[in-house]
Amino acid sequence: MNEWLTLSTSGDLLRVAADELVYAEADGNYTTLVLADGDRRLVTLQLGQLERMIAQQMPQASQGYVRIGKSLIVRLESVRYVHPGKGLLELRNPAGSKYELTASREALKALKEMLERNLK
């Protein structure tokens, strides 16, 4: 059964299926969610709060997401290309859209190693 992330405020409610979230990027006290259909949603949550909600509301699917530094949560299945030397992380959504993100070299080294370990 698909798990859902539900973000509710006093004025509205946003539901995101576990496989819809491509990545989330911090913007101060706000976070932008980028979804599989290309939709971008700004929510009034800090990234840490969103991380907790993902862990609570999607206990199984959450293990498919990785927090990268202070600014990113990324769906592991979306990762297409990692280049720690350039600090470059490239994601693809199911529709084929490409997203180029930046992160620290050390964090991307760790991500690369983690993905390599998963091969063994």
Binding site: S10, A55, Q63, V66, I73, K109
Partner: protein, 294 residues
């Protein structure tokens, strides 16, 4: 959940946090250099027990930066221009936040003063068909008994009411609003310069919450200034003035005055040109609005 730094990653929800951290070689080098510098400073202080005044300059701590000194965008986290809120794209942004468990809705003009849409004060309801209207909020209180406007009230240079009991004010000259306390000189400018002026309670002054005396809880609204931004804030729940003013100060607002609260009418033009109305239309004498138009 533990904090994370920019060099770390972790699998969300993993029992051990899936934490992966690599301490870079230059990190150890930096620690070594810092320790060496600390030892050198300590030796220097011991040897020079009475240093000359100019030698102390480098050790004088920098003055603490007030939250109010930060740019507005660093304080409230306004959405970036590329992000859309619920309001009219590139003109008005409407978004929710929560401060001290006080839910707030912020109606922010997407501009920095004074280069903003023109503001005006008017008696009577704004025209719903007015497609230039961006945001309209009820401004000065009107007495329930005699329908008189409370406090000094000037529209286009004509003074329609007098009274200084409420210390906060908003003055509008050439379509640019200012907010503050006192305001005698700005009142005179408004009269002389065919501007507008109204009084309300002060909620925040120079970054400090100054809740007015009236007790009780109600839906609150405020006209706020933060750096070069001006915006209207509405509480999502019934709040005391104390909690509302404290939340605004904690939000980082520099100055704020109250607006008519409770279920008073607020209108804003949403994306696509749709006019949203919130609250109740209080028809009657002297109902007045602060209005921003494109």
């Amino acid at each position: 959940m533990k904090e994370i730094d920019d060099n770390e990653i972790r699998i969300i929800g993993a029992s051990d946090g899936g934490r992966r951290h690599r301490w870079p070689w230059y990190g150890w080098l930096a620690v070594g250099l810092v320790l060496a510098a600390l030892v050198a400073v300590a030796v220097a202080v011991l040897l020079l027990q009475t240093p000359r005044e100019e030698e102390n300059i480098g050790l004088t701590p920098a003055p603490l930066q007030r939250r109010g000194d930060l740019p507005a965008s660093d304080r409230v986290g306004f959405p970036s221009p590329s992000e859309r809120g619920r309001g009219e794209a590139s003109s008005l942004r409407v978004f929710d936040t929560m401060i001290n468990d006080v839910p707030l809705t912020i109606y922010s003009l997407d501009c920095e003063l004074p280069a903003c849409p023109r503001a005006s004060l008017q008696v009577g309801m704004p025209e719903r068909e007015d497609t230039s209207l961006l945001l309209a909020v009820m401004a000065a209180d009107v007495r329930a008994d005699n329908r008189g406007i409370v406090g000094d009230f000037v529209v286009d240079g004509r003074q329609l009411a007098r009274g200084e009991k409420k210390d906060g004010y908003c003055a509008i000259l050439d379509g640019v609003p200012v907010v503050g306390r006192g305001g005698e000189s700005d009142l005179k400018r408004a009269v002389d310069g065919k501007g507008s002026f109204f009084r309300q309670y002060v909620l925040v002054s120079e970054g400090v919450a100054m809740p007015p005396k009236p007790k009780g809880k109600n839906h609150r609204r405020a006209l706020c200034v933060m750096g070069h931004r001006m915006f209207v804030v509405a509480s999502g729940d019934r709040e005391s003035y104390h909690d509302f003013a404290t939340a605004l100060a904690d939000l980082g607002v520099d100055d704020a005055i109250a607006l008519v609260g409770s279920e008073s009418l607020l209108m804003y033009r949403a994306e696509g040109g749709l006019l949203h109305t919130i609250g109740t239309s209080y028809e009657g004498d002297n109902v007045n609005f602060l209005v921003w138009r494109r």
